[in-house]
């Protein structure tokens, strides 16, 4: 990649090598894991292009090519064209809804001759670009209601389109933009996060303990808090406390409705399996059950490369795409899984650190956005394989098999690395 061209050396020289090293490490781990997951005696070469591992190499090559091109393009390009990229991606999302191919219940693929691609993978990046360029404008201030509405719309429109494709997993990823809104000082963003966490906890506990028990618990809690407030003579805090508890009661009350009416049956089952309310290792819980067996059987040091029995005999479905982490867990053991988790945490922390050193709001917002996106992908994907999250089909960045996600994540990261390399040129 490195040439002795002076012009390039300037760029290359300022590139954040830590990020790049983590990236290459993850991509290589992914490729070898796919090789192991899909290994076939008939095609023993990792370069066999008729097999998934060969194909993944082609995708890695394509991703590296695009990433390299992005490093060569003027850094201002993406800022300048962010709105257009956003519009094009939105249009392709609409096209998917009209012409798309359905796989596993979600209509998210679009075909151009032999090439299939998944616009929802690119929608996250386009949204990050659009939001970054909007917040970069000098007249935009998240303290103004109008600007908050526009920012929310920029995020919610693609999210809604993805949701319409029945691709709940990818739509959930858009929640990650709450991190960047929080960082950019949107009033209420912090509260939104807290309310979100509280709501999730109420949801989970209501499902585990039933509504009645939750009402009792909340009632007792409220009595204690009110008593405390009265004794402390903080009368002006009593009304807000009552309102807050009222909202909590409302949430608990609506859990049943939300659970039964909003969620689809397979989603309900996945949640119940996660919470241990539904035990069905042969049915809906099969994936998670087998995935936990595969990872758990890896032990401390793993069974060794190509030695996994659980993944090799197809006990784990989707083991080269959404459940690639199982292969790492079984063959690499705790050493392998913790290495991957640490690599991801390092990448995320590194991106945040880099985002904070940017001079332009565009670059910073973009950096936070992609950090959030990576985080949600990793948290949900790994979480579901170890039974901490319900089964939601989204890929593990850089590791899962698949061209669209490999390209999208690489380009997403490359744009940020380019912005970072160019940061000193911004006055």
């Amino acid at each position: 990649m490195i040439t002795d061209n002076d012009n390039r050396n300037k760029i290359i020289g300022r590139i954040d090598w830590i990020t790049l090293l983590i990236y290459f490490a993850l991509v290589l781990i992914g490729w070898f894991s796919i090789f192991s997951a899909k290994y076939n005696d008939l095609h023993p070469s990792i370069f066999d292009f008729s097999m998934e591992y060969g194909k993944q190499l082609i995708w890695i090559g394509a991703a590296l090519f695009f990433g390299f091109v992005i490093l060569l393009i003027d850094a201002k390009f993406f800022h300048a064209f962010s709105l257009w990229i956003y519009i094009i991606v939105l249009m392709s999302l609409v096209m998917v809804l009209v012409y798309g191919k359905a796989t596993k219940g979600a209509t998210s693929w679009i075909e151009f001759g032999p090439i299939k691609f998944q616009p929802s993978e690119f929608a996250k990046m386009a949204t990050a670009l659009a939001l970054a360029s909007y917040l970069d404008r000098l007249d935009v201030d998240l303290n103004k209601r109008k600007d908050r509405i526009v920012s929310a719309a920029l995020i919610l429109i693609p999210m809604a389109l993805v949701l319409l494709q029945n691709d709940t997993g990818s739509a959930l990823v858009f929640i990650s933009f709450i991190f960047v809104l929080y960082r950019e000082g949107m009033p209420g963003a912090g509260w939104l996060m807290i309310i979100g966490v509280v709501a999730a906890l109420l949801f989970v506990f209501t499902l585990i303990w039933t509504q009645k028990v939750m009402f009792v618990i909340l009632g007792v809690l409220m009595a204690i808090v009110l008593l405390f407030l009265v004794l402390q003579k903080k009368r002006n805090a009593i009304i807000p406390a009552i309102v807050l508890f009222g909202i909590a009661f409302g949430m608990v009350f609506s859990v049943d409705y939300a659970f039964n009416k909003v969620l689809q049956e397979h989603q309900r089952n996945r949640v119940l399996v996660l919470l241990g309310q539904l035990d069905d290792p042969k049915g809906v819980g099969y994936n998670v059950y087998q995935s936990k067996i595969a990872i758990g059987s890896g032990g401390f040091a793993g069974k060794g490369f190509l030695q996994g029995t659980q993944t090799k005999y197809d006990f784990v479905p989707e083991q080269h795409t959404d459940f690639i982490f199982c292969t790492i867990g079984e063959e690499g053991g705790f050493l392998g899984t913790s290495a991957v988790v640490l690599l991801y945490v390092a990448l995320l922390v590194r991106i945040i650190t880099m985002a904070e050193r940017q001079r332009s709001t565009f670059s910073r917002v973009y950096g936070y956005s992609i950090a959030g996106i990576f985080f949600v992908h990793v948290a949900i994907n790994i979480g579901m394989t170890i039974g901490l999250m319900p089964v939601i089909g989204i890929p593990l960045p850089f590791l899962s098999y698949g061209g669209s996600s490999m390209l999208a994540f690489t380009i997403m990261l490359a744009i940020f690395v380019k912005q970072d390399a160019n940061r000193l040129n911004i006055l």
Binding site: S297, G329, T361, Y368
Partner: protein, 617 residues
């Protein structure tokens, strides 16, 4: 937005904190899952198990006297696991030529079979060659160790020692996709065998038994390492139930011999139980043809045969009953009070209107006389008197009564016992005539019904049941094939439930006496086949049909005083009822009651008789 540049930058700590916290939670979880908890390690070991299905022996089928009709014979399927067979072992290369010579196949066939197996699965066993005979098995198995990846799997196929009753016994074959879909219990797997027709189909659940299971441990290289947990999860297969049929194997074989060279059917019933004694459909075939490797080929050949041997004419053939139907018309007329045994109708012989008489007898027959002579005008008049009986109000209500009575007599519907693919025949509905004649019809319009012609169609089984219910003087048991199971399981209640025909025994006895005169009377249409020591009752039928010469029909039972056998015979295009059907019925009766026939000339004439069919259908 530049304002927030500094003071907001502290918020990165919370974001990073969330990232790191989640990372830590996951690390803790992974540590407990992978290092602390050994539970999953054990589960993983258990996961590498192979479930080997153990197939039970299918139940055997016997005749009513315990004579074996169907049993199982072991055959050997040569199986291959392509991955093991294709292993590139340079020290011991696979001896393809030797293998081909051993199996007596050529190289191309070897490659073809191998490719097919590989296509099915590379790692799992597929059938390389099905149903290798016992003799070949012995000498192949001896040297099979030289060829890795190949092994024999034992399977059983049906064998029929006497090669009779092909239609009744039915056959088994690989389960079809649509049958798999209907299998709500999820018992069957692709490639399993199920009963496709006959007894094999109706008693599939009882005959098949229950599959067993062996749980084997498998290592990473897919090699079996012995039984899991000392076989605690293993389940022995349960052998299928044996079945005893009501059929008399000797009578069945005799019936098939009599029917050689003729198209048609014989159905013989034991009146007291409804058990079927003989169930002949001709032409028939050797049931051993539809077994094993050549099943598909033979099946196609039989299907292409213009004589349609695969059709069971005893239940799928629907025929005009002709004059045998006069028993039905006569009994209903008496039951409805429209005629009495003493009623006399005028017959002008061939000049009768609207139906001429084809028999010569006196001009004013009473009931007994009319039955003996099969007088057409008498039964037309009886039919007319029934449906025009003033007590019904009008002819349409009268006809509906008549139709309901035929239904009670077992016509126009299936019995629904244990005979698959039964057809219901046809007794036209009142609505049918209303539509056909736009509401304008009367007894003359539908006169043919009175003599068993026109729209009325019956199966030989239904006709035999008519004979049985007359023999019983008014009731019947739904005809069925099974006598009992090999164990104490009761047979379905429907087959042991007595059905009342709705005809008063008084009138049935009158009919019975009339049918006796068909053999014994001076003008009886079957008097040539009267025997001194066995009192037979019967009724001839000569049915016009659109396929050429008359169908020769006959119903009969014997002995009159205590009927042991009731039967119907239909010989397609056999001419008069008395020519073929009556002597065949009489010989069957003699065979069943005496055990052999003393009328050797008659027997010879029938067995050697061939009927030529102008247009073979």
């Amino acid at each position: 937005m530049r304002r927030g540049y500094n003071n907001l930058s502290n918020r990165k700590l919370l974001v990073m904190g969330v990232f790191i916290a989640v990372g830590l939670i996951y690390l803790v979880r992974l540590f407990s899952l992978q290092v602390i908890d050994r539970h999953y390690k054990q589960l993983a070991d258990n996961n590498a198990l192979r479930f080997v299905t153990q197939y039970p022996a299918r139940g055997k089928i016997y005749d009513r006297n315990g004579k074996l009709l169907v049993f199982n014979e072991a055959v050997y399927d040569l199986m291959v696991i392509p991955k093991q067979a294709m292993r590139n072992d340079t020290l011991h290369p696979f001896d393809t030529l030797g293998f081909c010579i051993l199996l007596d196949i050529d190289r191309n066939s070897f490659i073809e079979r191998m490719n097919k197996a590989k296509k099915e699965s590379y790692l799992k066993p597929s059938t390389f060659m099905t149903a290798v005979s016992k003799e070949n098995y012995a000498h192949i198995a001896e040297v099979l160790y030289r060829y890795p990846g190949f092994y024999f799997q034992t399977r059983t196929v049906r064998h029929y020692p006497d090669a009779i009753a092909a239609h009744t016994l039915g056959d088994i074959g690989e389960i079809s996709p649509s049958e798999l879909e209907k299998d709500v219990d999820g018992y069957y797997r692709q490639g399993d065998y199920v009963g496709k027709s006959g007894i094999e189909r109706s008693y599939e659940k009882e005959l098949r038994g229950e599959k067993g299971l062996r749980v084997m441990m498998v290592d990473v290289h897919n090699r079996e390492m012995g039984s899991f947990d000392n076989g605690s999860l293993d389940r022995d297969p349960v052998t299928g139930k044996d079945i005893y049929l009501g059929m008399d194997a000797d009578l069945q074989a005799y019936g098939e011999q009599l029917m050689v060279g003729k198209i048609g059917s014989i159905v013989a019933i034991e009146p007291k139980t409804g058990q079927i004694l003989a169930f002949v459909s001709s032409p028939t075939y050797d049931p051993n043809l539809l077994v094993g490797r050549e099943r598909g080929k033979h099946y196609q050949e039989l299907q292409k045969d213009p004589m349609k041997p695969l059709i069971n004419r005893a239940i799928s053939g629907t025929y005009p009953p002709g004059s045998t139907f006069k028993t039905v018309v006569g009994m209903i007329a008496m039951q409805s009070g429209s005629i009495t045994p003493q009623t006399v109708f005028h017959c002008s012989g061939p000049a009768s209107m609207p139906i001429k008489c084809t028999h010569s007898h006196g001009p004013s027959p009473d009931f007994a006389n009319a039955i003996m002579n099969s007088c057409n005008p008498y039964f037309y008049e009886s039919f007319k008197a029934t449906i025009n009986n003033p007590k019904f109000g009008n002819i349409k209500k009268g006809y509906e009564y008549w139709k309901d009575m035929t239904y009670q007599l077992g016509l126009g519907h299936t019995f629904g016992t244990d005979i698959p693919y039964e057809r219901s025949g046809n007794i036209p509905s009142r609505e049918y005539y209303d539509k056909m004649y736009k509401g304008q019809w009367n007894s003359v319009t539908i006169r043919s019904l009175g003599i068993g012609q026109g729209e009325v169609l019956v199966t030989p089984l239904q006709l035999a049941n008519i004979a049985a219910l007359i023999a019983n003087e008014g009731y019947y048991y739904p005809p069925h094939l099974i006598k009992c199971f090999g164990d104490t399981t009761a047979i379905p209640e429907i087959m042991t439930t007595r059905v009342d025909s709705g005809i008063d025994p008084r009138y049935v006895r009158v009919m019975k006496q009339g049918l006796r005169t068909v053999f014994s009377g001076p003008a009886g249409t079957a008097r040539r086949y009267e025997m001194k020591d066995i009192s037979q009752c019967g009724k001839t039928g000569t049915a016009q049909n659109p396929h050429g010469n008359y169908h020769s029909n006959f119903i009969a039972f014997a002995p009159a005083e205590d009927p042991k056998i009731a039967l119907a015979v239909i010989i397609e295009n056999g001419g008069y009822g008395a020519t073929w059907a009556a002597p065949i019925a009489s010989l069957m009766i003699e065979k069943y009651i005496r055990g052999y026939s003393i009328r050797e000339d008659l027997e010879k004439r029938i067995m050697e008789g061939r009927i030529t069919y102008k247009n073979e259908r």
